[in-house]
Symmetry: C2
Subunit: 574 residues, 2 copies
């Protein structure tokens, strides 16, 4: 670190402490436990918080410190919660990633997440251990502007839509199937949930003939009755939409209403008018709608699967003009979800999401480029996903502690590969399907500007290349561009350095590449992974780290496992 950098660092720390001191602390006491619920009208064990599924919505103001006292009330399972989209500046131990930022919280124990929500936006939180997100451990986290500040867009009210997918097979069973040889794939979800509510064995839109399911009949107090969105005519509403699906890529539309996209992953974007919006797992958007339609009618909000051949009925709820009765169904059928494999449409949408003027621009050049080839592979007969031929298996000692204390046996000390063979044919199944497991770390010098090229490829089956939404912890990145085929030297000339959107999740399209740039300016250890939970479980992720030597005050409760615990115990003798 140069003297100047050190000086700036101290200034940063100074401001940081000042602002923390001035902020409001919001305190929450949460118990994580399983409960019986009927999220899609069938009863199932669901992982919830304080008896709620989805978990409680957190609402805070930028600059606030959240203090979540999380008690594990499960019987034999550990738990953590990741605060998706919150960068955890100065608090990398609060990122809520088991094996990475902290030890999983043991049953009966309490962990204190204390971190600042430094930036307004639409976020969410979810389990980040095994398949606990699939089990239902998620909720919304909404950060408002600080007092006195205003959004660059107007709205009269807001509505919140947390989207997820749901299986009737337990997350434990899903996990076991994914770890079995031969692979037992989880299949498509049985239902899509909007704010934890869906309908599996009936349809709200049965009258429109595109389903064989009977009409749903709700009294309204059912756990699977839709959460109706109540609006007044001739107003503007902000819809906060976030997707915490385990697998499904989604498209959302509202009958008769246009949407204007204004926020993506906590960053304002250039207003973009659309009829439908694509939302991949790990993404969040705000859209504005104007209630300028016939106020004597209600309208569908519909969510459907894209990117995989759908076997799941649309998720539905009602936009209810309060000038009529809530129980009145719309008169037209729900909006039709686009053809699942119309990737040209998907790419066109992704390419149109651009930063709002005034958003920080990316540095002109990167100091380092990491090219990450995404492949499906075999390891000893087991089906895995690998990055540059390494399938991630998380270590039992979290990286943050082992890097901080130099515990070199905790994970592979060799850096993982930064590129793949130029001969690799991304258009065909791997010539050699065999891969290996690993848990090495991409180490970045603090403040390095990093380019990541995510390169998609053909999976193990011919003519199949899947969608993968990649999510980066601890940072936003600029999405510099999307391209088809194999990334080549000339492609960087097409990078958008003018108004690339700042996001934390970006998709790679089949057989394509996605280019990201970020500044490794947040001391800590950070997961970067496909946000499809079963894919991550099958090894589809990498670990980034920067400036761990500057990390201070890791709470002991983040370190009481594995080699960090043993290190401290070894120094004492009983």
């Amino acid at each position: 670190m140069s003297l100047k950098a050190l000086y700036l660092w101290f200034i940063f720390l100074g401001f940081y402490h000042l602002s923390v001191a001035a902020a409001k602390v919001r305190h929450f006491k949460w118990d994580v436990q399983y409960m019986y619920r009927t999220p899609d009208c069938l009863e199932h064990a669901v992982m919830g918080i304080n008896g709620q599924f989805p978990g409680p919505t957190i609402r805070a103001q930028a600059g606030d410190t959240l203090h979540i006292e999380l008690t594990n009330k499960l019987s034999t399972e550990g738990v953590v919660i990741h605060w998706h989209g919150i960068r955890q500046l100065g608090t990398p131990w609060a990122d809520g990633t088991a094996s990475i930022s902290q030890c999983a919280i043991n049953p009966g124990e309490t962990f204190h997440y204390r971190y600042k929500v430094d930036r307004p936006g639409t976020y969410f939180y979810h389990g980040h251990y095994g398949m606990q997100r699939s089990a239902g451990l998620y909720g919304s986290l909404i950060v408002d502007l600080p007092e006195g500040q205003k959004e660059p867009f107007h709205y009269d009210g807001e509505l919140n839509l947390l989207l997820s997918d749901w299986w009737h097979k337990s997350a434990h069973d899903q996990e076991l199937g994914l770890s079995s040889n031969p692979l037992r794939w989880i299949g498509e979800p049985q239902s899509l949930l909007i704010n934890g509510r869906g309908q599996f064995n009936c349809s709200m839109a049965a009258g429109f003939g595109n389903t064989t399911l009977p009409q749903c009949k709700f009294r309204g107090n059912e756990e699977c009755a839709p959460q109706i969105l109540h609006v007044l005519p001739n107003k503007t509403y902000r819809l906060r939409i976030a997707s915490t699906t385990a697998l499904a890529s989604l498209n959302l539309a509202i009958g008769n209403h246009k949407m204007v996209v204004v926020e993506a992953d906590g960053n304002n974007v250039q207003p973009l008018a659309v009829d439908k919006i694509d939302i991949y797992s790990g993404e969040s958007y705000s859209v504005l709608i104007t209630t300028d339609q016939d106020p004597k009618k209600n309208y569908w909000v519909s969510v459907g699967v894209i990117g995989r051949e759908p076997k799941t009925p649309q998720g539905l709820t009602i936009l209810h003009y309060q000038t009529t009765t809530a129980s009145k169904l719309p008169t037209s059928p729900p909006p039709i979800t686009p053809r699942w494999n119309d990737y040209a449409r998907g790419k066109a949408f992704a390419g149109k999401v651009l930063a709002l003027m005034g958003t920080p621009q990316p540095p002109k050049y990167a100091n380092r480029r990491v090219i990450l080839l995404n492949t499906q592979n075999k390891i000893n007969g087991f089906t895995k996903w690998a990055i540059n031929n390494v399938s991630l298996t998380l270590p039992s000692t979290p990286y943050l502690g082992s890097l901080k204390f130099g515990l070199k046996t905790a994970f592979d000390q060799k850096s993982p590969p930064e590129n793949f063979s130029p001969e690799y044919d991304i258009m065909s199944p791997p010539a050699n399907p065999n891969s290996k497991t690993g848990n090495g770390v991409y180490m970045f010098k603090l403040n390095t500007v990093v380019d990541v090229i995510l390169q998609n490829a053909n999976s193990l089956s011919a003519n199949v290349s899947e969608i993968h939404p990649w999510h980066l912890h601890g940072h936003d990145f600029w999405v510099l561009g999307y391209g088809d085929g194999k990334f080549s030297a000339g492609d960087e000339k097409k990078f958008n350095l003018k108004n690339p959107p700042l996001k934390n999740t970006a998709v790679i399209f089949p057989y394509g590449w996605t280019a990201l740039r970020f500044k490794a300016d947040n001391p800590g250890v950070w997961a970067f992974h496909c946000h499809i939970e079963p894919h991550l479980h099958m090894g589809m992720g990498v670990i980034f780290a920067e400036g761990v030597q500057y990390v201070r005050r890791i709470p002991e409760e983040a370190l009481t496992c594995g080699l960090t615990a043993k290190m401290f115990l070894n120094r004492e003798h009983n």
Copy 2:
């Protein structure tokens, strides 16, 4: 401790170390993981070891040291293994009880169980965390006499039968149901397993007309085909029978063959000839059979449920005289299981199990008496079991570490009650059903002779009092007697002090009491609990401790959780 006691202690330690030094160390590397299996011809996730279900059978000689290197290959669950019947003299940290003797082993981590099997006998091992025993985590542990020593009975060969019960609902779902309000009871098992094998949707004895199930047709390599017991005519066999059922009390019989009981819970007993043997969860027996029947026939081994109204078909296998073909079915129907509620018969059997001459006799008097009333109760609407009105909720810091290091906030410091109100009517549902949770410890001065009177009572439903097999860790006890109704002062005159059997598990019969005596001579913390896994999960247990100040060399890996981990971490600052 007096000078003399201290002197004896050093002598003990000296001998202990000498014998350890001379013993053979048997080393095992085990991975615990879920696997798909078809234990009763239906596929289910099963918790197994090294790909085996039941886990590998351990075979050792008395005096050997076992070293089991246990790696948790589960995804998000902790794990421990309890070595049922092994007293863990000098190694209380190796008893394998989560929250009591050690921290649960985290996923990806390895724990080293190192302990001496000091005494020959028929034992078994099983999970002791949540409902992991129900999930299938168990196996046999058989300790032979030291070289040159002989049993007081002769046999030509031996056969091993590990009995269990099996549900089609996952152990996770069972747990959730037990923790729900209203209670969702697990119900009766779908099948009984003999060495991990049972038949749910067919019967081996369909031809005998007492079932509507179709005849099982096995090629023999099915995972649910019975493990046939191969014998030669006119020989004596030792059958080692152990029950690790989650719920079921069992009765075992062999067509046409008498049995002679010679061992119970690792202790030799006065030879007892019987047609059928009762075996409660947590018990083990050896019986001798002589193969003196028609050698051209095969014979049923049948296992049925007693003590609860059975809804589970008999477990069956074949005693195969190798003078005929193994596939030949017996010509008579399987032995009929006794009427489930014929408690007079059950009590008569229990009363006839007596120590073999030469077995150590109990001390004449006890120094302390603890009377433990067993009741079913409500706590905030949840159904629980309680002992003297306290329902056990295990703390997150294991007692062994918190007692050793004086961590007084780890558990209730107040001793739990040693008796119950003399007005309590054991014949009726509790007048006040409400109970409370607790986790206090019954502390015994080292070498105290303790009498425990287990007092049964009516459950929450009128005219119901259930069977409870109580299991003590770290010790054997003498079973001084069984009685009906409420224990009263005069009853102790009926105690059998001459030849009471030494056991580690003893049942209480409905509306009755059972009197036990043991010497608190094993420094450590020890669970004493109903061995019915869902009852323990609902709070039916107590904690005993003695001489913890003499416990040395607790491996650090037993302490890396809860307050013990924090204590060490607090001394260091990062």
